[in-house]
C-alpha cells in the first residue's frame, strides 16, 4: 500500500524523480570512475615494472633467492615444464639461467648480469624483443648476446663488436666465452640498463657448462590480480624443494609505493564522497521544499505522520536504488571505454613517464568489484540521507506547511 503510493508519487512528477535519480547515478559513475582510474594506474605500473625483468611469478630452487648463485639451480625437465604449463591460470613460462659475470672488451671491464633465455618464450613474458633499439633479436641456436645500452656505452661497444664474458661455471670452474653483440637493448630501469646482458638459454648453458639447468622459471599469470592465489596453489603442486616467488616478494619497494598512493587516494575518495553526499542531499532538500504544501495537505486530511514518512522514505529508497542500478549499467560501458582508450597525459609529466620507459597513459581498471563497491557505497549514503525527509515530516506543522 505505502510502496504503491510511493511508486505513484514517483511517476506523478517525473522530472523531479529523474533529477534526484540522476544525482545518485552521477555519484556512482564518478566514484567508480575515480576508483578504477586509480586502480588502473597501479595495475599498469606493476605491469610495467614486472615487465622490466622480474615477471609476476618465478619458480626457483629453495634458497636461490637469498644467494643467487649456481649452487641452487633447477633442472628444467619436460615433466616440470608440463606440470607448470598445465596448471590452471598459468599463461606463459620462460626459463632462465642467470649469473653475475664480468663483461670485458679488453681495455674495459664491467660487472654485468647475464641472463640465458629462450628467445621466443622470454618475449612472451617480458616482451624483450620490443626493448631492442639497434641490431636484431636472439635466436635459439645463435651464440650471440644482446647488451643493455648503458653497459654498451660504458664499454664502448656496438652491434657487431665482440664481448668477452667471464663468470663462474656450474662446477665452480671459470667460464669464459667470446660472443658477438647482435643487438642493443633499452630498459626503463636505469639499473638494468647499466648491467644486463642476454643470450640464448642453450648458449648460456654451454658457456656455464650446465646443460639442462636453469635458475628461475618466470611465469606470467592469465589474470595478474590472482597472482597470490596462483603462487600458493602452484607451490603445493611442485616438489617441496622448489619455491614460488611473487613480484610482491621480489620487489617490496614497489608495494610500498603503491600503499603510499593508496593512502592519498583514500583521502581523495573521502573528499569526493563529501561532494556526492551534498549533491544528493541538495536534491532531497529541494524536493522537500517543493512539496511542503502537498505534505501539509495530506497531514491535514488525516494521514498519520508515520504513514507519510514511510511513503517518503520508500520514495527516496526507490530512487536511490534505481539510481545505483542505472549507475552500474551505464558505468560498465564508460569504464570499458576508458580501459580501451586510456587517458593520455601530456606535457612535462609525459616526458617523465617516458624517461622511465612507461607509456604516459592512465587506463581504467575493469575489475567489476570496483563498480559494485562504489555502487554499494553510494547506496549506503543514499539510504542514510533518505531518513532526512522522513525526519522532516515528523517535525512538520501542517497548518504552516499549507500556508507556505
Amino acid at each position: 500500500m505505502f510502496v504503491m503510493l510511493a511508486w505513484r508519487n514517483l511517476w506523478r512528477n517525473r522530472s523531479r524523480t529523474l533529477i534526484t535519480m540522476a544525482s545518485v547515478w552521477c555519484a556512482v559513475l564518478l566514484s567508480a570512475l575515480t576508483q578504477s582510474l586509480q586502480r588502473g594506474a597501479f595495475e599498469l605500473m606493476v605491469a610495467n615494472v614486472v615487465s622490466f625483468y622480474t615477471g609476476y611469478l618465478q619458480v626457483q630452487q629453495s634458497g636461490y633467492w637469498d644467494e643467487q648463485t649456481l649452487e641452487y639451480t633447477l633442472p628444467y625437465t619436460d615433466t616440470l615444464r608440463a606440470t607448470i604449463l598445465q596448471y590452471p591460470g598459468v599463461a606463459a613460462l620462460a626459463p632462465r639461467i642467470q649469473v653475475f659475470a664480468l663483461a670485458s672488451t679488453g681495455e674495459k671491464t664491467k660487472g654485468c648480469l647475464v641472463a640465458g633465455v629462450e628467445p621466443e618464450a622470454e618475449d612472451r613474458v617480458t616482451r624483450l624483443r620490443r626493448k631492442i633499439t639497434a641490431g636484431q633479436y636472439l635466436t635459439d641456436s645463435m651464440p650471440a648476446v644482446l647488451a643493455a645500452d648503458g653497459l654498451a656505452r660504458r664499454l664502448h661497444i656496438g652491434v657487431g663488436d665482440t664481448l668477452v664474458l667471464l663468470g663462474q661455471g656450474y662446477y665452480g670452474a671459470m667460464a669464459a666465452g667470446k660472443f658477438p653483440v647482435c643487438g642493443i637493448l633499452h630498459f626503463g630501469s636505469p639499473d638494468l640498463s647499466q648491467r644486463a646482458v642476454f643470450m640464448s638459454l642453450s648458449t648460456a648453458q654451454q658457456w656455464l657448462d650446465a646443460p639442462g639447468q636453469t635458475t628461475t622459471l618466470v611465469l606470467s599469470p592469465e589474470n595478474p590480480a590472482s597472482t597470490d592465489k596462483l603462487a600458493a596453489g602452484l607451490k603445493a603442486s611442485l616438489p617441496p624443494d622448489m619455491t614460488v616467488k611473487t613480484w610482491m616478494e621480489m620487489m617490496p619497494d614497489l608495494i610500498e609505493h603503491i600503499k603510499t598512493d593508496t593512502a592519498s587516494s583514500a583521502i581523495f575518495l573521502g573528499v569526493l564522497y563529501v561532494l556526492i553526499t551534498f549533491g544528493i542531499f541538495a536534491t532531497l532538500l529541494m524536493m522537500l521544499l517543493e512539496r511542503r504544501r502537498e505534505f501539509g495537505m495530506l497531514l491535514a486530511l488525516g494521514m498519520k505522520k508515520g504513514q507519510l514518512a514511510r511513503v517518503v522514505l520508500y520514495e527516496s529508497v526507490l530512487i536511490t536504488f534505481s539510481g545505483c542500478l542505472l549507475g552500474i549499467l551505464t558505468g560498465i560501458p564508460v569504464i570499458w571505454w576508458f580501459a580501451r582508450y586510456p587517458i593520455r597525459i601530456g606535457g612535462d609529466s609525459a616526458e617523465a613517464f617516458r624517461k622511465f620507459g612507461f607509456e604516459p597513459v592512465i587506463p581504467a581498471s575493469t575489475d567489476p568489484g570496483i563498480l559494485l563497491n562504489q555502487a554499494l557505497a553510494v547506496l549506503f549514503i543514499g539510504l542514510v540521507l533518505s531518513w532526512y525527509p522522513a525526519y522532516k515530516i515528523f517535525t512538520m506543522n501542517p497548518v504552516e506547511a499549507m500556508r507556505g
Binding site: 660504458r154 603510499t260 592519498s264 583521502i267 549533491g279 592512465i362
Partner: protein, 403 residues
Amino acid sequence: MLLLIAWRNLWRHRARSLAIIFSVVLGIWAGAFLVALYYGMGRDRMRIAIREEVSHVQVHHPGFADDQDAAFHFSVDSLAVAVKEMPDLRAYSCRCVAQAMLANASGSNGVVLYGVDPEAENATRGLREMVVQGGYLTNEKSHQLMVGLKLARKMKLNAGAKVVLTFLDAQQNIVSAAFRITGIFESSNAMLDERNVYVRYDELSTLMGIEGRAHEVALLLTTDAAVPATVEALQQKLPQLLIEDWKAISPETAYIISAVGGSSRIILIIIFLALGFGIVNTMLMAVLERTREIGMLMAVGMGKGRVFAMVLLETLLLTLAGTPIGVGLSLISVSSLSKTGIDLSQVAGNMMKGFGLEAVLYPWLPVQQLGEIIVIVIITALIAAIFPAWKALTLKPAEAIRR
C-alpha cells in the same frame, strides 16, 4: 532591473540559494584541498631530496656520470674559489666517491663509498641529525665509517663492528681497507640508506691517491629560486666541469613531482564534474519548481531572452556569494593543516618512508593554483546553469500557469 529581480528571487527562496552557495563553497574547498594535498606531497619530496640527498646543485667531471669512474676527479682548491663567490651559497661539501664492496663475516654488499669532510657534509645535508645509533664522524679517530640503517639491518651491522671496504683507486688498482662503524644513520629515503656509506675525506682521498681532489661537490643554496642563476654562473667559471641542478641529478624526484601535476589535473576534472552536476540538479529543480512563476512572468510579457538571462544571473550571484566563503575556508583549512600536517601513517602505516616521503603530509596551496580553481569553479557553475536556463525557455506560458 533584471539584476534586481534575480536578487529578489534569491531572497525569496533562501533554502535553495543556500544549497547552491554551499555546493560552490564545497566545490572550491574540495578542489583547493586536494590540489594542496598533492602539491604538498610534491614539495615535501622535493625538499627532502634537496635537503637530505642531492642538495641544490652538484658539480662533477663530465665523464663521471656515465661511468662513476674514479679517474674523473678535479682539483678542490680552484673549485672552492669559484664556489665561494656564489652569492646565494649556504654550504658546500666536496666528496670523493668510489664504487665499493663492503664485506664482513656474514657476506658482502655493493655500496657507494663517499669520503666527506664531517662538518661540511653536515652543513650541507644534515647528516649528523640522521644518526640513530652510535655517533657522527669525528676528526680524532681514524678509519671511521657510517652506514645506513637498512644496510646495517641487512648485513647485521652494529656500531663498533669492523668491516672491509674494497674499491678501485684512481689508477684502477684494487684497494682494501678495514673500517670500524662509528654510527648508523637513517634518512627519509630507505633506498639510499642501503646504498650510501661515509668515511672521512682525508682518509679516502689518500687511499685513492687523489689528495686535494674530488669527484663531486654538492652546493646548498639559501633559496630554491637561486638554482638556475647559480648553475649558469658556475658553468661560466668552470667550463670544463659539468654543473647540474637537483632535477638533473635526481630524475625520479622530478618524475614524481610532474606525475603529481598530471594526476592532480584529472582529479580536478572529476571534482568539477561532481560540482557541476550538483549545481545542474539543484538549479533544474529550482526551475521546475518555479514553472508557475516563470510562466506568469512570461505571460505578463517578459521575453525569453530575459528569462534566460535572469536564471543565469541568479546562478552567477550565488556563485559569487559562495566563492569568497569557499576561498576563505580553503585558506583556513590548508594553512592550519600545513602547520600540523596530516598523519598518513594512520592510513598507510610507515610505508611512505620506503619511497623517500615522510608519513606526515603538509598541504601547500600555490596562489596561482587557487586562482585557477576559482576561475574554473565560476565557469563550471555558469555552464551548469545554462541547461536549467534553457529548460526555463521551453516552458509554455499558458500551460505553465495552469499547473
